[in-house]
């Protein structure tokens, strides 16, 4: 079976997807939006029965030194148990400290100590869920001076030591590479193909600032051409994997997202050796 392409399920489209069941290879929800019972939960669960499914957590804070929040972990575990999704993931970042939740994917210094912390947290998460999870590369805005390894090295080590999968977000690679002046093609070097379980695609904003531009991972537009290019390289290098289009800012009508997913699907089927722009 070909690697499926799908979209992140967002609240404004839930009723439409529940009613029309559009052709999509995959749907992905944010775990934190479905930890409480509600009519939205009921609709999501109806929809889940008809699609391959991914649960993408945004708040486990896998880089937190204090470890995972037991109560939150238990709620996410219960959701995963109930939905039995094909994929489960969260980010290489932290968002809690001292009992407060910052609602941001904050950056980690890539050090041996941080690696130990993340491995420990990922182990605990995989144990609680009884399954493999995947870790996504974040969008970075800050160069952290005392990192002792690169992000891909850190991710590779993490996958090796914890047995977790890797979720490669091609837009995040592009954003990070631009903001930190890294060659995105070299970023891909040395990643273990076998560990890669999923791809993400999204749009970003280009912001003019003093002395140049900063890319902001706002998920607010179509996937840009450089990101399609990078995605194509990933697929060629690592193989096709389930792929999700994410859109969170100025969310458009559903057909726009279906169109982006179709484009990803064409590229996946062609093994990346295909000009996505012509698709």
């Amino acid at each position: 079976m070909n690697a499926p392409a799908g979209i992140g399920l967002r609240a404004p489209h839930l009723a439409e997807i529940d009613r029309d069941r559009p052709a999509l290879g995959l749907l992905e929800i944010h775990a934190e939006n479905y930890l409480l019972p509600s009519p939205s939960f009921a609709a999501m669960e109806r929809v889940r029965a008809d699609y391959r499914f991914s649960v993408h957590a945004v708040g486990l804070s896998l880089g937190a030194v204090d470890g995972l929040d037991a109560a939150h972990l238990a709620r996410v575990a219960a959701l995963v148990k109930r939905l039995q999704p094909d994929l489960v993931s969260d980010h290489l970042s932290w968002s809690t400290h001292g009992g407060r939740y910052f609602n941001d994917l904050l950056p980690l210094p890539y050090t041996e100590e941080a690696l130990d912390v993340v491995v420990r947290n990922v182990d605990r998460l995989q144990e609680a869920l009884g399954r493999q999870i995947s870790i996504e590369n974040p969008s970075c805005y800050l160069a952290i001076a005392h990192s002792t390894m690169s992000e891909p090295e850190f991710l590779s080590q993490l996958a090796k030591r914890s047995g977790c999968g890797l979720l490669l977000d091609a837009n995040n690679i592009h954003v990070t590479a631009h903001n930190l002046s890294i060659d995105p093609a070299r970023w891909l070097d040395g990643l273990p193909a076998a560990a890669i379980t999923e791809y993400h695609l999204a749009g970003h904003a280009v912001n003019e600032v003093e002395g140049g531009t900063i890319l902001i991972d706002d998920h607010g537009s179509r996937v840009g051409d450089p990101v399609w290019g990078l995605f194509s390289q990933c697929v060629e290098r690592f193989g096709p994997r389930p792929t999700v289009i994410e859109w969170d800012t100025d969310i458009p009508a559903l057909p726009v997202l279906l169109d982006e997913a179709r484009r990803a699907s064409v590229l996946l089927a062609a093994g990346g050796r295909h000009d996505a722009r012509a698709a």
Partner: protein, 88 residues
């Protein structure tokens, strides 16, 4: 004056025997006053996402650590709310 026990029992029991239509009307009336379902539909869940706010970049130049300028006046449907409360 409080009605008798018997009258209260009869009133409660009569509510149970309201025809289904009347109960449905009661429900419609409740929803007409405040249609939670119709208001939010199923599309309310969505407070958590994982993008970066578009305007976050404002303030990345060194001097710009000031918060946004204070907009002094609430400007929304509060303009439709008039009068004062009669002190009771």
């Amino acid at each position: 004056m409080t009605p008798t026990r018997i009258a209260i029992a009869a009133a409660l029991a009569s509510a149970l025997t309201l025809p289904a239509v009347a109960q449905a009307q009661a429900q419609a009336q409740a929803q007409g006053r405040m249609p939670v379902e119709k208001c939010f539909g199923v599309s309310k869940a969505g407070q958590n996402d994982c993008q970066t706010d578009t305007s976050s970049c404002a303030g990345t130049s060194k001097k710009d650590n000031q918060p946004d300028a204070w907009i002094a006046v609430p400007k929304g449907t509060c303009q439709k709310i008039v009068g004062g409360v009669v002190k009771g």
